[in-house]
Symmetry: D2
Subunit: 144 residues, 4 copies
C-alpha cells in the first residue's frame, strides 16, 4: 500500500508518455489508492454554451484512474481501459477548471476498478461521476 510514484513522477510520466495531452492535465495530489487531477479548461474543451465537452470529461476521468493505478504499481505497466460508465449530471460552470478525484476500489492481479467524481472547481456538487475498469497485463509479459 505504499506509493510507487510521487506527484512529481506522475506528472513527469504524463509528459513523456502522453505528450499530446499532457498540458491539459496536472496531478494535484496523490495518496495510496487516490489521486486528484485538474483539467486546465481551454477553448478546445468547450462546446456551444461554454460548457466543457463530454469527451473532455471522459478523458479527465480516464487519465485520473490510470494515474491512480500507476501510482500503486509503477510506470512500467501498460494498463488499458476495458470499460467506462459515466453519468453527466450537471452542466459544468463556465470559465473554471474541472477537478477529478479518483479512488481505486479494487486493484487486483488482472483488473482494477476506479471511481471518479468530477467537479467544477469551487462547486459542491459533482458535474459527473464515472467508474472505469482497467485490464493489467501479466507481469511476466514484456511490454507491447
Amino acid at each position: 500500500m505504499t506509493l510507487k510514484m510521487s506527484l512529481e513522477e506522475l506528472n513527469a510520466f504524463m509528459h513523456e508518455a502522453f505528450a499530446q495531452v499532457a498540458d491539459d492535465f496536472s496531478v494535484e495530489a496523490v495518496a495510496p489508492n487516490t489521486v486528484t487531477v485538474r483539467l486546465h479548461v481551454d477553448a478546445r474543451h468547450l462546446r456551444p454554451g461554454n460548457t466543457v465537452s463530454g469527451p473532455s470529461m471522459f478523458a479527465l476521468a480516464d487519465v485520473s484512474v490510470y494515474l491512480a493505478i500507476l501510482a500503486m504499481i509503477g510506470p512500467e505497466a501498460l494498463a488499458v481501459t476495458t470499460n467506462c460508465s459515466i453519468d453527466f449530471m450537471r452542466k459544468p460552470a463556465a470559465g473554471v477548471d474541472l477537478i477529478a478525484r479518483a479512488d481505486l476500489l479494487k486493484l487486483g492481479r488482472v483488473l482494477a476498478v476506479g471511481d471518479v467524481r468530477v467537479f467544477s472547481e469551487g462547486m459542491e456538487h459533482p458535474v459527473a461521476r464515472a467508474s472505469l475498469t482497467y485490464s493489467i497485463p501479466p507481469k511476466v509479459t514484456p511490454q507491447v
Copy 2:
C-alpha cells in the same frame, strides 16, 4: 418514423454547431433510427502504439447517437448526454479510420437510448461498443 434531416443536413449542422470538431467526423449514411459516422483518424487521435485514444472513440460514439436523434427530431433540439457505458474490446488497427454504427433503441418523450458499435474500417469485429442515454428537453418534442 420519417427522417427530419438528410445526410447533407446532418453534416452541415455538425459544421455549424460543432465547428471545433466537425472536421473529425462525417456522416456516411442515415436512415430511420440509425446513422453511420466516420472518424477521420489523425495524429491528434492517437496514443502511444498508434492506437486511437479512448476519448476519441467515446467522442465518436457520442456524436453518432446525437446525430441519430437529430435525424429523427430535427436540428432545433438541444439533447444532452446523461449516461454512457462503453466497452473497449480490441485495439484499433493502425492507419485506418473508425466507423461507428449507431442504432436508436428508444426515442421517448424525455429520454433516448442509442447503441453503438465501432469498427476499424474493414475489420469484422468491433473495437468498441457503447450505449448512451440522451435527455431531450421538454418543449421541443410535443410528440409522444
Copy 3:
C-alpha cells in the same frame, strides 16, 4: 433537504409496496440523500460456492437508491430505474449479510442518480459498486 420519510416509514412503505421481497431488506439508517440497507442473506440468495448471487446484489443496490429517493420526495412518487451500471469486485463472504450504502449524487426534476457501495458485513472493501439512474414522473401526472 429535509427528509419526507423516516426510517420507520421507509420500512413500512417497503412492506406495503413490495410485499414479495420486503423481508429480504431492512433500512438501517436514513439521512438527507443517503440510506443504509441490509440484505438478510438467505439460501435463496446464494449461488454455488455459498456466494451471494449477482441478481441479489443488483436488487439490493436498486432498492437502496429507490428508498433514498423516496426519503427525499415522499412515497407518492412512482420512480422507475432507467439505467444501472454495476461492478462486481470481490466474492461476498459466506454466511454474513450484505450492507449497501446509497448516496444520491443528483436529485433533479426528471432524473435522479445514486451511487451505491455494497459490503459484506464487517469487511473493509466493497464487494460491489453500482450507479443507478431513476426517472421521476412529472408531479402533475396522476400515478399510472
Copy 4:
C-alpha cells in the same frame, strides 16, 4: 468457433449448477456466439402494476451471456460477472414471457463481453438492453 455444448447440454447444465433458479429459464436456441433464453414469467418475478422486476431482467441478461460463453468454452469454466450495464427502456407487457438474445462481441483469453436485448414475447421493441463482462479464470482456457 464450433459449439462445445448443445442446447440440451446447456439446459441440463443449468439444472445441475443452478437448481434454485433453473426452472425460471430455458435456452431456446444456441449457435456460435449467440443464445436465446426465455424467462418463464411467474408471480415471483412481478412488481406492482404486473411488470417484471428489474432484478428478474438483470438475472435473465446475466444468465444469457453466461450460457453463451459456456456454449463456446465448455461447462468446466467458472466465469464470473465483473460488470453489467443495463438500460430499462420500456415496461414489459403483462402476462407474457421475456425473451433474451445474447451475442458475444468478444471472447478473449481473460475477458468476454456480451450484448443482450430483452423482449416481451411478441413485441417489436426491446424492453431492456444490457452489456456484461465476464472474467474467465486462467487455467480452463489454454486456447487463445
